[in-house]
């Protein structure tokens, strides 16, 4: 009898790994009947995980820590992270108007390295302030997200305090392009295909990609409820193996066409297969990057502290690194 395991996922291209595990036979080969639960927002995914509607989820790495720590808007939910799921290929897209103002204000900066282009925002922000104009508004996908930290870091590298000199909000990615086109926002940090979309429609310009801000930054993980993972270690190992084998399959360029078609289905991501295929190239972790690296936790906690979300004493930070369970990964893959 196959064990039923329910995993939540957000409809993004990097949900490829759990989807491939469920649909490509990797889960059933391990004796697991993997049932996927599509959550259209991170808040919904978090609630489902916190209140036991799912056993685990494809989840933003900082959200997993926030949920474990009890600062994510729901009661603390102890989690374990036995697999890393992706580095993603996020980018920051600006409105044409803002991009052109930056080019006009500091052409030499805009011609230089993308990671430092926020320096060209300084004269724009100063001019706005002198003219009494409202703050520039940027959005990301969720406050406990790498997108949020990448935007803050890019701004900080340009000498701008993202917490006091601009507004940073949250909008669901499918609404970002129209919000940019309508002038509600001046820019956003999101994964693909949402940057590509704005460029194709001629309403935005990509100013920098993740590779120039935070190249090794972890993006998504597999988060499991700690009580569930501990209740049946063999079952947990089987799930880890299914996910890692699916990740290897996803990382093979030969499978990209099949994967794109699978993800294109409305019950998964629900976008055109060719658009997905185009974005898949940079979204998958390199092979062997699925083993959770406890050093990622330290990096994430530093970013959460810089964002004003969580400031923990060192010993508590060390305690949190134990959420990342390389031992579970090693045990399952041995």
């Amino acid at each position: 009898m196959a064990e039923i395991v329910k995993l939540g996922f957000a409809p993004l291209v990097d949900c490829a790994i759990p989807v491939a595990a469920a649909e490509g036979g990797f889960a059933s080969a391990e004796g697991i009947d993997l049932v996927l639960d599509r959550a259209p927002s991170w808040a919904a995914l978090r609630d489902k995980l916190a209140f036991g509607r799912v056993e685990g989820a494809h989840i933003l790495a900082p959200l997993a820590l926030a949920l474990h720590q009890g600062i994510a808007g729901v009661p603390a939910t102890p989690l374990v992270v036995p697999v890393s799921l992706g580095l993603a290929n996020n980018a920051i897209t600006l409105s044409m108007e803002l991009y052109e103002r930056m080019v006009a204000a500091a052409p030499e900066v805009m011609a230089g390295p993308p990671g430092l282009r926020a320096r060209a925002l300084r004269p724009v922000i100063d001019a706005d302030r002198a003219a009494g104009k409202p703050f520039l508004s940027f959005v990301t996908v969720f406050h406990f997200s790498c997108h949020h930290y990448e935007l803050l870091k890019w701004l900080a590298d340009g000498g701008i305090d993202g917490r006091s000199e601009v507004n940073i909000g949250v909008i669901a990615p499918p609404r970002m392009v129209e919000s940019l086109a309508a002038g509600w926002i001046d820019g956003y940090c999101a994964g693909e295909p949402w940057n590509l979309r704005a460029v194709q429609r001629g309403v935005g310009q990509v100013v920098v990609t993740k590779a120039d801000i935070r190249p090794d930054g972890l993006e998504k993980v597999l988060g499991l409820r700690a009580d569930w993972a501990a209740a049946d270690p063999d079952r947990t190992s089987a799930l880890i193996r299914a996910i890692v084998k699916a990740a290897d399959w996803c990382a093979d360029p030969a499978n990209r066409g099949d994967l794109a078609r699978l993800l294109a289905e409305p019950r998964h991501v629900g976008l055109a297969a060719d658009l997905i295929a185009e974005t898949l190239a940079g979204a998958m972790p390199a092979p062997n990057r699925n083993r959770p690296d406890p050093a990622d936790v330290g990096r994430l906690l530093a970013e959460m502290a810089a964002a004003g979300q969580l400031d923990l004493p060192v010993e508590q930070q060390e305690a949190l690194t134990t959420v990342w369970r390389a031992d579970l990964y090693d045990g399952a893959m041995a």
């Binding site: 919904a44 489902k48 009661p75 669901a172």
Partner: protein, 195 residues
């Protein structure tokens, strides 16, 4: 407090369900209810309405926007997620089951919020039941149309009486342990292939 009646805002991508929930709340005596659909300028709308309680469907993508807004905004009074207060886990599970989530301005007493959320849960469930019943009725109608069509084909091409055509399909369905509408569909497909 000048106005003891809580100001309730319903955010729902489904206008029919929003109307059902709104009516339920008004009929139970909460008259200060407003509703909005999906919106690109959510913050401005919420600022204008200044709700004490926000009822929003659990799956609504705007929830991510709301939560960030509540974390940083200096203009909106900070509502918190209903799920933070775990004193009534039975209600929380009922809410999740029904697909309801709620945000409540800090300081509003739990005993005043509970009946509002419970009303929303009841209404969400009622809406769900109505929709299910409608879908079932539609699929039953569809089944009956299929059976009629198959019967007509058998009568025309196999020169059977109406009763014999029906009996033949029913007997086949019983023998194969399948639904009558499935047999009807097979009959239709078979004739379509012959034509």
């Amino acid at each position: 407090m000048a106005n003891p009646e809580p100001n309730i805002l319903i955010i729902d991508g489904n206008p029919d369900r929003a109307a059902v929930v709104e009516r339920g709340l008004v009929e139970s005596g909460w008259v200060r209810v407003s509703t909005i659909g999906p919106s690109v300028n959510l913050l401005a709308r919420i600022q204008a309405l200044a709700p004490d309680v926000i009822i929003i469907d659990l799956e609504n993508p705007d929830r991510d926007t709301l939560e960030q807004m509540f974390q940083v905004s200096r203009v909106v009074q900070r509502p918190i997620a209903m799920f933070v207060d775990q004193s009534d886990s039975q209600m929380i599970h009922a809410a999740i089951e029904a697909g309801v989530s709620a945000y409540v301005v800090d300081g509003l007493r739990q005993d005043r919020i509970k009946p509002i959320v419970e009303t929303a849960i009841t209404r969400f469930n009622a809406f769900d039941r109505l929709r299910r019943e409608r879908d079932e009725a539609q699929s039953k109608l569809q089944d009956r149309k299929q059976v009629e069509k198959a019967k007509g084909l058998l009568m025309k091409h196999r020169s059977l009486s109406e009763e014999d055509a029906y009996t033949l399909m029913r007997r086949t369905a019983m023998k194969q342990n399948r639904k009558l509408s499935d047999i009807a569909q097979s009959v239709i497909t078979a004739f379509e292939m012959e034509l």
